[in-house]
Symmetry: C2
Subunit: 199 residues, 2 copies
């Protein structure tokens, strides 16, 4: 295990849960809960003043759906691990952008174990999902995807190989964290790459 202590922020309205998490994490040794917020908006209002955060554990109930989808961009640091702490049932898909989904019913050892795995791999993965802005070419590809063209059709339209289209799409998905065509379409609409009234 690292000698380094991971800085953890918890965003959770229920005090019992946040307190329980804190004690479980700090008992382990390599995690240090530096701050607890009871709402996401509270956290957002102060995050710029914070030091870098390694892990954010938050209750998805404190987020609107559009925030859930954009969670990776709402959070200060790109290589921050984002964990959903779930009480009760939750739509699996709506949490797809979280690095880890943990039930409060799960044993604390498994939580620690999964967190350990994530922090271990973080240095590698930080390299890959660092750059969030799409290149000009990637935006062009994305527009064609949103129009409903297949990869082959895109390749023909832009006079490039299907392989290249696929490579671009892999990079687009990596950067945006969106893997579905419909998600990419919505992303393109929201980011004004296409006009829905003209699509």
């Amino acid at each position: 295990m690292k000698p380094y202590s991971n800085k953890v922020v918890i965003i959770e309205p229920a005090e019992i849960i946040s307190a329980g998490l804190k004690s479980v994490l700090e008992e382990e040794g390599s995690y240090n809960v530096i701050k607890i917020y009871n709402s996401f908006s509270h956290f957002k209002n102060v995050w710029r003043e914070e030091n870098e955060v390694d892990i954010i554990i938050l209750n998805p109930k404190s987020l609107r759906y559009d925030e859930l989808e954009n969670i990776k961009n709402l959070v200060p640091y790109r290589d921050t691990i984002i964990v959903a702490i779930i009480s009760g049932v939750y739509n699996e898909n709506s949490l797809r952008f979280f690095d880890l989904k943990m039930s409060i019913d799960a044993p604390s050892e498994s939580l620690i174990k999964e967190l350990d795995n994530l922090t271990k791999n973080r240095t590698d993965s930080a390299k890959t999902d660092e750059h969030n802005e799409l290149s000009v070419r990637e935006k062009e590809i994305l527009v064609e995807v949103a129009k409903g063209l297949t990869n082959k059709e895109i390749a023909d339209t832009l006079n490039i190989s299907v392989h290249t289209v696929i490579t671009h799409r892999k990079n687009i998905s990596k950067k945006t964290g969106i893997n579905s065509i419909s998600g990419l379409t919505v992303y393109a609409i929201i980011n004004k790459l296409v006009d829905i009234s003209k699509l």
Copy 2:
């Protein structure tokens, strides 16, 4: 050839083109241009008073993009053949819902020939794309598609078999005339089946 004379409506701002089309079509014998409009809005304002129309030939420039996508629903009769008459270059994909795309540069024989083919097959195809409204269940499926779930995920969410999901999706595509996931997503947004800000 049929003894029946197909009723044709032309929607085209340029008089030269509409007049030329009329003479080419009527020379052939089995087409009768019953009306010419110079704009789509003009046509829309009066269509209810019209007799049934077999073929509508229109310049896509008189349509907004969302009208292009919905062209099949904007037109009075479902088994009406819709032909795009194109001057200059045009995005191939944006015209995908037209039954026929004809350049004004193309020889008149080929236009007649392709129209003949379409009118010949019309009785069969009318059976297939008749019903345009989605059933409640189909809308449910569509919503999940727009959310980005795979067919298998949809099946699990709704507790039905993947086969059923696929069958529903086939029917949805048949009814809407939209085959791409991104197109269906846009359709779901436009028809307010989903809220883009919550997606």
